[in-house]
């Protein structure tokens, strides 16, 4: 399968099954479009009014050479392979710990419903957290790198437990020959020097929630009393990012129907000095006034194009920053097994509630149909695990025909469930945006190859 498109003056050809990316001239672009359903002679006949015949023959030879080397029109031979991958024993390697089902903000779009996840307010105790780490170690098989995200609600509302669990993890990793990678996701309200110092020492990554421009952030991310949070968090986040040498963190925002011009928010965050930025579309029900709608897509596509172009320009000017959804690792990216099998929710990645219940991921927390067990007694509902395990790009009809399938791995199971009541489907608006982001990310790589 080949996906070809034009973006920012580049003719880009993606060979989906090998991951090879080619930048081609207009002639070759037109030849490739005809390649699979047209004979060589007919290609020459159809194009010789526009292009020189000798040049067409040259392009054909170059295409044949790439095809011979497995860099173009590569067949998809992975479907049987994924069967072998999914038969392997399941290990757990990552936990999202809901340290606090409570929050000091009242964000309008929060899937956790102001931190409470359709349930009661609660803080995770040290005993529950400790049992969660024990559960992770016990179920991690021979995986050495184990990930624990301190999540919420707002985890700084229960920070002593975070500190104690990190200490426990550091002690246990030596005993069991594991390597814990801790991350913290915070809204920044309670950030102080003590938390920053601790996080800089212990957290592999920190995710700092902010939506962008003051008016955008304050509309969606107010305190419970209605006041905006921007002025409280921005100076703290700037200090925090600098104290981490502008590495191993993301400022992370959500854009909605109310700020379809979200590229301005990304650039605003860049202008505030942040170098690691992630801003992604809200996932909401159609009835929510802030939900992204299908008719918003053309504007959002234009926004991604404009942002990508601006990023190329800023890089040339020495003012580069990273945008998470345009990052793509071409030379050291994931293997096919990872690309086919998705995010690992419900199998190698689980969420833990403050009282120790296990769910497939943070987005399923509170939906009793997905309660899988708890950290004290272990996984009870192996049928849920097996259902998630069978979820891959070949189990979803729409992914089979999609050029982006090796970049999103079939998309988010929770999004699929929320829109179709089935984890083996796809969230169409999310897919459209994901495809656009992949196209932009590749264009940026093409432009960078020229710099």
């Amino acid at each position: 399968m080949v996906h070809q498109y034009k973006n920012n003056g580049y003719n880009i050809v993606l060979d989906v099954n090998s991951g090879a990316i080619h930048i081609v001239d207009d002639l070759t672009y037109d030849v490739i479009a005809l390649w699979e359903e047209t004979s060589r002679e007919e290609i020459i006949q159809r194009l010789n009014k526009t292009y020189d015949e000798a040049e067409i023959k040259e392009a054909i030879e170059e295409i044949e050479e790439l095809q011979k080397n497995g860099d173009l029109f590569t067949p998809d031979d992975y479907e049987e392979y994924i069967g072998d991958v999914t038969k392997r024993p399941t290990v757990v390697k990552a936990l999202c710990l809901h340290i606090a089902h409570d929050c000091n903000l009242a964000c309008r779009y929060c899937f956790a419903e102001e931190g409470e996840y359709h349930g009661r307010r609660a803080l995770m105790s040290y005993e529950v957290g400790k049992a969660a780490l024990d559960f992770l170690i016990a179920n991690s098989g021979n995986r050495r790198n184990l990930e624990v995200d301190f999540f919420g609600g707002e985890p700084t509302l229960n920070f002593q437990v975070v500190k104690d669990l990190v200490a426990y993890g550091r002690e246990q990793e030596k005993i069991h020959n594991k390597n814990f990678r801790f991350t913290l996701t915070t809204n920044g309200v309670l950030l102080n020097d003590d938390i920053m110092e601790f996080a800089n020492k212990e957290m592999d990554n920190v995710v700092l929630s902010i939506d962008g421009r003051k008016e955008v952030n304050d509309y969606m991310r107010p305190f419970r009393g209605g006041q905006g949070s921007y002025d409280v968090i921005v100076p703290k986040f700037q200090k925090f990012a600098d104290s981490r040498n502008q590495e191993r963190y993301y400022v992370r925002g959500t854009y909605t129907h109310h700020n379809l011009d979200f590229s301005k928010d990304v650039l605003h965050l860049a202008d505030l000095g942040f170098k690691q930025i992630s801003v992604e579309p809200v996932v909401a029900q159609e009835t929510d006034d802030y939900a992204i709608r299908e008719e918003d897509l053309p504007q959002l596509f234009a926004e991604y194009d404009a942002l990508a172009k601006e990023m190329v320009k800023r890089k040339k000017e020495g003012k580069a920053f990273n945008f998470f959804h345009f990052m793509i690792d071409l030379e050291g990216g994931p293997c096919v097994a990872k690309r086919l099998s998705g995010c690992g929710s419900g199998t190698e990645y689980l969420a833990v509630t403050p009282w120790g219940d296990l769910y497939p991921c943070h987005q399923f927390v509170g939906n009793e149909d997905f309660l899988m067990g708890n950290v004290f007694e272990g996984l009870k509902r192996t049928d849920i695990r097996d259902s998630f395990k069978s979820c891959n790009v070949y189990s979803k009809e729409k992914c089979r025909e999609c050029f982006a399938r090796f970049y999103c791995s079939g998309g988010c199971a929770a999004n699929s469930y929320n829109f179709h009541g089935d984890i083996h489907n796809t969230y169409d608006i999310g897919c459209a945006l994901q495809k656009k982001r992949v196209e932009c990310a590749i264009m940026i790589k093409a432009a960078e190859a020229e710099i």
């Binding site: 099954n17 090998s18 991951g19 090879a20 990316i21 080619h22 930048i23 081609v24 001239d25 070759t28 170059e62 050479e65 497995g70 860099d71 031979d77 392979y81 392997r88 990552a94 999202c96 899937f111 790198n145 990930e147 995200d149 990678r181 991350t183 995710v207 992370r252 992630s278 579309p281 809200v282 996932v283 998470f324 959804h325 990052m327 793509i328 690792d329 071409l330 050291g332 990216g333 994931p334 293997c335 096919v336 990872k338 690309r339 995010c343 190698e348 990645y349 943070h362 987005q363 090796f406 970049y407 999103c408 791995s409 079939g410 998309g411 988010c412 994901q434 990310a441 790589k445 190859a449």
Partner: protein
């Protein structure tokens, strides 16, 4: 090549035999909590 410039990429076919060790980062642990972004993850063996 005269008409085609190829970017350096890791050939996916070549990752079949040795891939799948599972040591790499879980995508939702990085910066997306509501989408699935895998293509930007780095292979633990390529670091």
């Amino acid at each position: 090549m005269k008409h085609i410039k190829t970017l350096n990429t890791r050939k996916l076919q070549n990752t079949v035999k040795k891939g799948g060790c599972g040591e790499c980062q879980t995508s939702c642990q990085s910066a997306c909590k509501t989408s699935c972004t895998v293509g930007n993850q780095t292979c633990e063996h390529c670091k």
